[in-house]
């Protein structure tokens, strides 16, 4: 089955991004496909390359990057939501790309299920 995932909140402040990551990992392990992960609202903040969490905690951004590397998951950041919040091309960690909100609607159309994680 093809899953689309929408992440509404940034890293650390809310568990949304962690839960989305755990869901995506579990879906892939079960042989499902992740059509796309779309980052909207404060979710765009998950794409920053400058995050350096304490070494004894999980690294939310690196978790997504590794998932993208290992499974070619498409990680898309909303351009308009990013501009509001200061996430632009130069802030992006490897593995993320910036595009339009249409990519979320497309994920809704192309995926069998769209699952949202937020506050």
């Amino acid at each position: 089955m093809k899953f689309g995932i929408l992440v509404n909140e940034g890293p650390y402040n809310h568990q949304a991004s962690d839960s989305a990551y755990q869901f995506a990992k579990a879906a892939l392990e079960k042989g499902h496909e992740i059509f796309r992960v779309f980052f909207y609202y404060d979710g765009v903040l998950n794409a920053t390359k400058h995050s350096e969490p304490p070494s004894d905690d999980r690294n939310v951004i690196k978790n997504w990057q590794k998932l993208a590397e290992d499974h070619k998951v498409d990680l898309v950041v909303c351009v308009a939501a990013g501009l509001r919040r200061g996430i632009v091309e130069s802030s992006l960690a490897p593995g993320f790309r910036i595009s339009g909100l249409g990519q979320l609607i497309e994920a809704g159309i192309q995926s069998d299920r769209l699952v949202t994680f937020g506050d």
Partner: protein, 102 residues
């Protein structure tokens, strides 16, 4: 047609869970996750509401979120099923759509 409803906030803090439970229909499933897992426990002021809901819909709770908060999965309200992330994926696949009550 059926929906998997996800709820991630404590019913003591927010009205999400109440709102969700007043919009479920027969055959739907509800997953309590993140801070909403506190609602699944016996002994709380909310436990009767959950026990009632578990008779109407398939009610599940994420075990990982229970254990993180020091809540014992063996002490959830009767009729509530404890699932892992793989179980969450199965629930999403088994229903026609997923609605997050944010």
């Amino acid at each position: 047609m059926s929906i998997l409803h996800t709820v991630n906030k404590s019913p003591f803090e927010r009205s999400n869970l109440n709102s969700c439970l007043s919009h479920v229909t027969a055959g739907d499933s509800v997953l309590l996750m993140e801070d909403a897992v506190v609602a699944a426990m016996t002994g709380t002021a909310y436990a009767d509401r959950i026990a009632d809901a578990a008779k109407q819909v398939k009610l599940c709770v994420l075990g990982a979120d229970l254990r993180a908060r020091g809540l014992d999965p063996a002490k959830v309200v009767d009729g509530v099923a404890v699932v892992d992330y793989a179980g969450f994926v199965d629930l999403a696949a088994a229903n026609n759509a997923v609605q997050a009550w944010l």
